[in-house]
Symmetry: C3
Subunit: 360 residues, 3 copies
């Protein structure tokens, strides 16, 4: 299986508070009486992860964390990344609030080839931080992204976290980019959150021949889900379609049916249910089934969107495999399709589509 969007794993031991913070998209703890383990993802973790560490399924959180500490981060990471059963990972390297393993190290743990996804806003903020004129910004950013191409397989936009997904379909003019760059450069710590710049960056990636991943829908509280509906992106997706550049809509929950619609009607749109798959735990099959209502089977990919916790690479992969297999087997049982077609779709979704789009 190919995990076409994930981040690095934390390479150190975690205390209970850190572990719980890494488990879900909550940024601050809930009330003390509300355990993050009491949730779909918590129950899924307790079902599937303890056996990887030599405990019985459904171990209590305290016992699980004690065993995890006993084994140590290196061994825990090795076990979960290996258990995930991946052949390739595409790693977004632009988000590093803490020290995490780089793609080659992650790939070695997973026994998989590791490929890099360049985060567009990070490139722009690096360029802005290095000292550049407003007029020189566009050229320097463009060159930096083009220079990445030999070593990266895709680009990532986090417009959903900043300006929202309602990006225009027009390429911004040089004058518009220069004006927006001027505003960016006047900030003490330049932070891209301007519709023009997000859009400019997407076109830089398209021009460089890279598939563009978009954060869509579900994420932490900063994601502002109001502006994360993939339908808001339709003008830009249409414009990208005319160039043939693939647009990869990540996460999508709870707008995954809207994302499936876009994957049907636009030739260049691909979708996944990363992050949501492991957060929904026992409900992952319902999610994948809804995603596959309109999305053609050649347009759906797997990603974990795992960050930090080794468990998430394994849980994402395991829950996705079970969800897809369960959905496909249900159809075979009902006579809706043949076992042969089901196997073919499973291969497409688990790895074939990703290999084709990213040229792995």
């Amino acid at each position: 299986m190919v995990d076409h969007h994930c981040h690095g794993v934390l390479d150190r031991d975690l205390d209970r508070g850190e572990f719980e913070e890494s488990l879900t998209e909550a940024e601050t703890g809930g009330p003390p009486e509300v355990s993050p383990f009491d949730s779909q993802i918590g129950f899924a973790l307790r079902r599937w992860c303890p056996p990887v560490l030599g405990l019985d399924a459904h171990a209590e959180p305290g016992d699980y964390l004690a065993r995890r500490a006993e084994l140590g981060a290196v061994e825990v990471n090795r076990r979960f990344l290996s258990a995930a059963g991946l052949e390739a990972l595409c790693v977004d390297t632009g988000y590093t609030p803490q020290a995490i393993l780089d793609p080659p190290a992650l790939g070695r743990l997973a026994g998989a080839s590791a490929h890099e996804i360049v985060r567009l806003e990070t490139v722009a903020e690096e360029v802005a931080g290095e000292g550049v004129t407003a007029a020189g910004f566009a050229g320097k950013v463009r060159a930096r992204i083009e220079a990445c191409v030999p070593s990266v397989v895709g680009a990532k936009s986090i417009a959903a976290y900043r300006a929202g997904l309602e990006l225009s379909g027009e390429r911004p003019s040089d004058a518009e980019v220069t004006a927006a760059a001027g505003r960016l450069l006047r900030q003490d710590r330049p932070r891209v959150c301007d519709e023009t710049l997000h859009r400019f960056l997407v076109w830089c990636a398209v021009d460089a021949g890279l598939p563009v991943q978009f954060h869509v829908g579900y994420g932490d509280v900063d994601a502002d889900l109001r502006r994360g509906d993939p339908l808001l992106l339709i003008d830009l997706l249409r414009a990208m379609a005319s160039t043939g550049a693939p647009a990869m809509l990540l996460h999508n929950y709870p707008f995954h049916r809207q994302a499936g619609y876009l994957a049907q009607v636009l030739p260049n749109v691909y979708v996944d249910a990363g992050l949501a798959t492991h957060n929904l735990g026992h409900r992952a099959q319902a999610l994948i089934t809804e995603l596959l209502e309109l999305a053609p089977f050649g347009k759906v990919l797997y990603s974990s969107d795992a960050f930090g916790l080794a468990e998430l690479y394994h849980l994402g992969a395991l829950l996705f495999r079970r969800a897809l297999a369960g959905m496909l087997a249900g159809g075979v049982d009902d006579g809706a399709w043949t076992a042969c077609d089901a196997r073919r779709v499973a291969v497409l979704v688990a790895s074939g589509n990703a290999r084709r789009v990213y040229g792995l």
Copy 2:
């Protein structure tokens, strides 16, 4: 069963490209490696349609298309329209990008009575194209729609494809319509896409005593799903409610729960899941079940929204029948309702509601 919203069927042989284009709402092909047959609708077609042409279920696309070509369009159309098992069809005659059979011919193929639905924007564009003054536009359109009444059973608005569904609940004044008509008439090829005109047309239909069908939600990429949420239409629906004029919300996916809400709280609102039913294939029952969460059983209708491909008339009807029957039988099995009540609901939804609203 009554199909209360469909279009004509293509009366000619189709090559593989044309067939695939007609299968889903995609307007341009996806990447060459992504077959439209690898999708819920493709799998549903391969399950249910080959036997109608004398092949085994799950035939490969190539074999299916070869057999289809061998039989020829006339025979294929006859078989599928007949297999659909319809007693009546309401045919939207306002969308004819290609030559398709007219309602009487479609009705003969189906062995069903065929009724016409007049597309409001088409009437307005015809009037505009014939030469009229801005001041004379409203009267001429109104007269044209009134003149249709003896021969049509309903009207159709495609505001969702143009201005979006956020239509005001106010009747536009004569001055507003004249101003909007002036803008329309100045176009080289008049195309209604003005909120005032869409609204004016709806009121013309209401005044003529016609139920008004609204395209809502799912459609091709031009539909702009962002502006196709039925909740946007609530002011106009409320205003129509005060006159008693039925509003028929078509398609609705992925906003079918919102549509069901409107069907509960507004006395004149009716809903269906046309187009989505056959596109979701094996998931049709999940869709119909969600639609029927809030929508009263006396407010839900069947439509295929089939256009062009004979298979879609059959698939829509078959999948809807199975979905409704499956949902109702599940309730009987659980003791949620009686078999007698289930049968009564099945008759209402399959045909009774349509017969009552359209006076068939």
Copy 3:
């Protein structure tokens, strides 16, 4: 079980028209041929309520209403409130279009402790109606709310019915409140529908230490579902989070997945599926299961949102219990969690979370 949001019950006999109007969120009857009993809630009522009145399940509406009239309102109310099996009720006392029982009387019927929820807009409208200057409005409202505290356990905002849920996260300044109060006081019959005032009222409740209930999503046609998406409230919820004040999102359908997201990412957000649970009838389990996809199990509560009809207190409680038990038992059957964990979650959701948040 704790019903953390309901209203009073009607204490008089009802004719068929009144009964049907009280059954759903429709304000006016549908066409005469469409019975409100032919719906999920109608079928659920006919399944579960007749036995409480000594009839067989699935009794015909006419027989049911005859038996109801025969027993009389006092006996009917006693039977259904008692059958609901509640230990505590939190009663919103601010909506009384008809004479209904007050919390103590409702509690006696139910054999449960009854607590009051103060409706914020009602307080503001009472103060405005008593004669106050614009400059004195804020202080008098604030004092009135603070004076409630010993006797109420929470406050309720109906911003969704008036200005919509897009409330700013900023506390309004005194000058802003005074200006808004001036506009309110100039109305003949003061009716709060101003974003500033709704927001001011929420902060009064927060400052008084009260959990704040928000109407979200599903309600009658006045609720304007377009502006009832809980994501619109995110700025205010974030601002409340910094104070620790609990925000209770009520109803939520069809935006319950969005509400579950907010319950995961914000420490102070709690959710329920009141009103929708009994309206969806046989589909209640699907609803609760979707709500529990992202919402931590320590953040989900039960409410009926029953108003007027005694049946709704019972139906809400029964359908919620069955839905939660069915969802939890399904996980136990699949090995997704243990029976012990399932029991623990059942207790949290049915009563523990409510007791903790409201300090019952």
